[in-house]
């Protein structure tokens, strides 16, 4: 398909050399684009497998300690979780709109949508901070640090396995939050490059790739939210 596009078509090829965004080891812009997307998808596939360890641990312990999972889930604030879910979904919308604007070569719009995405990411982290602060105050901490403080928790009895719930809660949301922080950094970097005018309707790959990363962060949260916050 696209790989063959460059071969046997020398006239076309000469036109591509000298394109500022085309690396010398690629024949054509479309080959470069496909290679970049392939690399990004391999990275995202790795991310899924990386997170799958946490999801497997979650399921093993949930099936072993269903009572603990139910009690501990009610200690989380489902309203904050819902708001955070909506914030992340909205940030995915702004991220994909940034890509769309980039495809159309609308530089100012790309910058605006990227900044909106970053703002949502900060909003997510701020809400998460308030949630974490409450958990620390209530002693709802992972593993051996689990020491619920009377009066700060909803339940007065924590079944065996509760410490494991909060280990998984902090590990999963913590690793996810780390991805959000890294996301802020890379989206800001892409915003800077966009401001410098590096992208156009012909070359918008980095905007596309950073949005793919951001959607994956959203994708993970789509599962974490009901798994952690909404247990009956």
């Amino acid at each position: 398909m696209t790989m063959q596009a460059g071969h046997g078509d020398d006239n076309e090829l000469h036109g591509h050399h000298g394109l500022p965004y085309l690396a010398h080891h690629f024949e054509t812009p479309v080959q470069q684009f496909d290679a970049a997307k392939l690399g990004m998808w391999l990275f995202l596939g790795q991310e899924l497998l990386f997170f799958s360890g946490l999801f497997v641990a979650y399921l093993v312990f949930r099936l072993w300690y269903p009572d603990a999972w139910s009690v501990c889930s009610h200690e989380l604030d489902w309203k904050m979780g819902t708001v955070n879910t909506l914030v992340l979904l909205f940030s995915s919308l702004t991220a994909v709109l940034a890509v769309r604007s980039a495809q159309l070569g609308k530089k100012a719009e790309v910058s605006l949508y990227l900044l909106l995405t970053i703002a949502c990411a900060f909003g997510f982290l701020i809400i998460k901070y308030f949630e974490y602060a409450h958990k620390f105050e209530a002693g709802l901490l992972p593993g051996s640090y689990f020491a619920p403080v009377a009066g700060h928790t909803i339940s007065s009895v924590f079944p065996p396995g509760s410490a494991a719930y909060f280990s998984i809660y902090f590990m999963a949301t913590g690793v996810h939050g780390l991805h959000v922080i890294i996301g802020i950094g890379v989206i800001f970097w892409i915003w800077l490059r966009n401001q410098k005018g590096e992208f156009s309707a012909e070359f918008f790959t980095p905007v596309d790739l950073v949005a793919l990363y951001w959607h994956l962060v959203d994708l993970i949260w789509i599962y974490l939210f009901p798994f952690l916050y909404l247990i009956d």
């Binding site: 596009a5 076309e12 799958s52 399921l59 959607h215 789509i222």
Partner: protein, 161 residues
Amino acid sequence: MSSAHDSHAHDSHANDGLVHVHVHPASTYIKIFVALVFLTLVTVGLSRVHLGNWNFFIAVVVATIKASLVAAFFMHLKDDNKFNVLIFVGSLIFMGVFFVYTMNDTQHRGQWDESYGTKVYAPTGEAAPGRGQYEAIKLEGGHGHGGEHGADHGAPSEAHH
């Protein structure tokens, strides 16, 4: 994305080596976003209805519908190179292997029962696998680690003492 154009053999752009993508109208993405918000509210609403084990099942199904919308539209997999879809789906299949093999172990372990001197399934009290050398270690050495899931930590070689 380029593969979407490969299907148009007569497309004049098809062989110029430049990147051509189908730009979706913004309204498409806004509709997907509205659907995602709706499904989020559905998840929250259904979690407050007591359906026993079905709650978890429904949560997984709704989350998967949401994830599919994000992957297909926001991540452009719908009109992307099919090889990228293969990588994504391939990762999911290996995740499935990870889940199934692990559950096949952890869901079929017994717990050490002191009074019967054997392993039992906690929910039913039936005898569970994990007999043999493990009991021997426990009796001889006397270091009965009766840890809930850790009764079988002893290395088999210890049985030859």
